[in-house]
């Protein structure tokens, strides 16, 4: 441990490792809180199970009755609509359930971000190997002096850490929202916002 500190101190951008380390620990703490408040509860388990069942049922029904067929029985269409509305309702209930418990996690994240901001405000924590586009530069050069757009601020690195570490941690632990739930997946699947 004593030899590790001088080793890290020799890196010009050793602060980046601190940001990543704190991000990782925060992700673990957030998932632990989420598990205590959400994932281990019977309400969550039953909602998740009903969403999984409904989405699988819907898939089967749609596969058996592809929209290209003109003569779809009214009763089948009604059944599909019923299952779809049941799925939407369960997804909404799940979101609402997570939202109530997510406030604690949000508070933890707020505190950690504030702490990191106070530690690294105005400091260049890493060097970008590319020149970011204007929208990204607003975040990557936040609070930094000078015109060098390859200077990376804590905020951008923390954002990258948050998304990559927490998404994969949720996936690994099996806490990702079910694919059938509304708003799950999509082109930009963020870590579950209700628990983060």
């Amino acid at each position: 441990m004593a030899t590790a500190i001088p080793l890290f101190a020799s890196f010009k951008y050793a602060d980046s490792l601190t940001v990543v380390g704190i991000s990782f620990c925060t992700a673990l703490v957030c998932e632990a809180i989420s598990w205590i408040l959400i994932y281990r509860t019977s309400s969550y388990k039953s909602l998740k199970s009903s969403i999984d069942k409904a989405s699988k049922k819907l898939e089967t029904m749609k596969t058996d009755n592809p929209s290209s067929k003109l003569a779809i029985k009214k009763s089948k269409t009604k059944k599909i609509d019923r299952v779809e509305s049941s799925l939407k309702e369960s997804s909404r209930d799940l979101s609402l359930f997570k939202f109530k418990s997510g406030a604690v996690v949000a508070l933890v994240l707020f505190v950690v971000f504030g702490l990191l901001n106070s530690l690294f405000e105005g400091k260049v924590v890493a060097k970008l190997p590319f020149h970011p586009i204007t929208i990204v530069r607003k975040m990557s050069h936040r609070g930094l002096k000078g015109d060098d757009s390859t200077d990376c601020s804590m905020a951008f690195l923390y954002l990258l850490c948050s998304i990559s570490i927490r998404t994969n941690l949720q996936k690994f632990l099996g806490f990702s929202p079910p694919r059938g739930a509304a708003g799950a997946g999509g082109l930009f699947p963020m870590p579950d916002p209700k628990t983060n």
Partner: protein, 129 residues
């Protein structure tokens, strides 16, 4: 009585034999075009493939180092190519059964992009300054 006991013993031995082969069979399934896939299972496998490719590319790009925004585009092309090659050519799945090419190609895309950027930036910053 003896026959039923020996039948039970054979069944038990068969079950143990199967259990021993669970891990290799799971591994074999990853490369078996005849295996049947659940939407969730395939989605998870594609997600993790993307993450591994993102991590390797990030470490590699940062070590060389490769500099410039064009390498982000290249990473996206390589990563998507690998995922497409895997499900279309190795597994030979019908993408219509899984929501189409878009649904399969977007599995884990954003997370892998952020992981790639993180690895690239970290290695570049630490190794070359």
């Amino acid at each position: 009585m003896r026959e039923s006991k020996s039948a039970k013993l054979n069944q038990l031995q068969e079950d143990n034999h199967q259990n021993v082969h669970l891990s290799p069979s799971k591994l074999a399934k990853l490369f078996d075009p005849d295996a049947s896939w659940d939407k969730d299972q395939l989605g998870d496998v594609l997600h993790w493939i993307r993450q591994v490719v993102g991590l390797i590319c990030g470490l590699l790009w940062g070590s060389i180092p490769l500099v410039g925004g064009i390498w982000i585009i290249l990473f996206l092309a390589i990563s998507s190519g690998i995922v497409y090659g895997y499900y279309a050519m190795i597994l030979k799945v019908d993408e219509e059964d899984f929501g189409g090419h878009a649904a399969l190609l977007q599995e884990g895309l954003f997370a892998s992009l952020t992981l790639f950027l993180l690895a690239w930036i970290l290695v570049y910053s630490l190794a070359h300054f």
